[in-house]
Symmetry: C2
Subunit: 333 residues, 2 copies
């Protein structure tokens, strides 16, 4: 059983994988491990994964070919679904059992398909899978947060080539999420307005950092971007939770995500990237007033990790205005 | 002139380098750029750097060979020393001019010397250079924080091979530092004790995470380590500020840093790493009671950056207990 430990100074939670080896050669963290040459995410390899928990497929049986998007439990999960929380203290430290869910969204049956090359329809199916799994996982009262994130490319932390997204349901609220909530709450307390709504309004007036927009969403480079070409996609309308996404907006989200990834992929020549979905925590009804869900896309272009990790101080060599202008100028259709 | 911008949600500060190019090929952030094949940090290349601001050298003239450690302004600084702060608002956003200092500590005249292979005497000289520069820079009332950090190896963000440390004096307190101060202040408010002192006491009793110790310092793996083999060096005695380091302790710090780096270097086969010195901000006398300076060493073994950046949630595949045991078992003398 892994452990979740709390840093006594910062209140940051860390999953410590206590049953893993500590040899240096093992550090390519194998959240999903390939099965000797066979890709477990391809058509026909369905038996190499645990049984699927969700799939978008034609009239075919579960755990067989015929799917377009497939969601399975991670074979080597960071958090396990069974057991009690075991919250306890060790002297001044706090810890608990690593209870949670760890799933993988297999984004396509095609081994080499990358999201930026997929159709808006396929991306919409992937987003639908996120939505269905999030709705299901929020029903488990043990989970405080559902974290949906994608690592594309080895330099962004992907350990399997086949395009996939990870879903981790955690029994604690991740620190970055808690900080965002605090910041948004502070803004709301002073002004009775959502800080993200204020950002969207100012950006749509200035237009210097807007990359892409449609009737329901805006893609923009944030004013204080940490990384070159960091791009956020936000719903225009105030809504705190991704799981409230309406059917008609799902397709609009698929469209803007596809177009934005195409622009980034073209401008930066297929960069590795991460994206993380930011949504309000479960069991926090107050956040509905002041939080605003969004997707943060972070191309991995620079190698300045350690210093920034250590200080929380970032140096971004590309202004968001220059990045937005570059992305807007892309001809990719 | 670069800009310092504040994220309106998180309050995080970012230096935006507005005069740089935005082409993808430029992303190996050149904080120090090599001069066509000649290493500007070697003996005889002193004219390739701005004039030195500090050096430990024999009876030789400034900006000539004969030094053992040399500190120069960064030729391509992220922050500039001249100018006013220009604090201003742009709608809901806050920004200021990128005023500060950006210096480089050249750790040895030898091009290939790596810190883990240096003598304790040489490492003590490097630490002495940190100390002298920190004392000098804290005298400039514009600077709120002096950030001292080292990137070793390309994967840890180093852009020049020749061993060096960077010093950045900032007009704002970095977010991670502000968070540590808040956490330490909260602990102190509840218990009238320093949280770092409590950690040291508990760790010296448990001993499972202690790596190395001497009369003045302890090196340990933190309980909630984010990264495999993350190692902190802390003074046993409560002291908030690095610049208060006593002469006799400087050498003890050199000894423990040398021994700890040797253990890490041997155990992990010369890993890239970062370290960051954590000290109390200037002009914050209150912090003397509850803060405790220390050095955080982060070997760069995993590639899980983007997700962790995005969520503040970490998965560490090596328990700190296993890492400490492995480091203690090293025979390197």
């Amino acid at each position: 059983m892994h452990e979740i430990r709390r840093d006594p100074i910062l209140g940051r939670w860390v999953i410590i994988a206590t049953d893993r080896s500590n040899r240096p050669s093992d550090f390519a963290i194998n959240r999903e491990q390939p099965v000797g040459g066979v890709c477990p995410f391809c058509y026909g390899s369905e038996s190499h994964t645990p049984p699927e928990v969700f799939a978008i497929r034609g009239a075919t049986r579960a755990d067989a070919p015929g799917w377009q998007v497939r969601v399975v439990p991670n074979k080597y999960p960071a958090l396990r679904i069974e057991g009690d929380m075991g919250r306890r203290a060790v002297g001044i430290y706090d810890m608990m059992n690593a209870i949670g869910a760890h799933e993988v969204v297999i984004e396509s049956p095609e081994h080499d398909a990358q999201m930026a090359d997929m159709s808006a329809e396929q991306i919409t199916r992937i987003l639908d899978a996120y939505l269905q799994r999030m709705i299901d996982l929020t029903n488990d009262a043990r989970f405080r947060y559902i974290l949906i994130f994608k690592n594309q490319g080895a330099d962004a932390g992907a350990t399997l080539e086949h395009a996939h997204t990870q879903i981790i349901a955690t029994p604690v609220v991740p620190k970055r999420v808690a900080e965002e909530l605090e910041g948004a709450q502070r803004h709301f307390a002073q002004r009775e307005r959502c800080v993200f709504c204020d950002i969207i309004q100012q950006e749509l007036e200035a237009r210097t950092r807007v990359v892409e927009e449609n009737e329901a969403f805006v893609a923009l480079e944030p004013f204080a971007a940490r990384f070159p070409y960091e791009t956020w996609i936000l719903p225009r309308r105030h809504v705190a939770r991704f799981e409230r996404l309406q059917r008609e907006d799902l397709r609009r989200l698929g469209n803007i995500l596809r177009d934005t990834l195409r622009r980034i992929d073209t401008a930066l020549e297929h960069p590795p990237f991460n994206y993380v979905l930011h949504t309000a925590p479960n069991q926090n009804g107050e956040a509905d007033a002041y939080y605003h869900w969004h997707l943060e896309i972070m191309p991995k272009l620079t190698k300045i990790a350690g210093f920034e990790w250590g200080s929380g101080f970032y140096i971004n060599p590309t202004s968001p205005e220059a990045a937005a202008e570059h992305l807007r100028s892309m001809e990719w259709r």
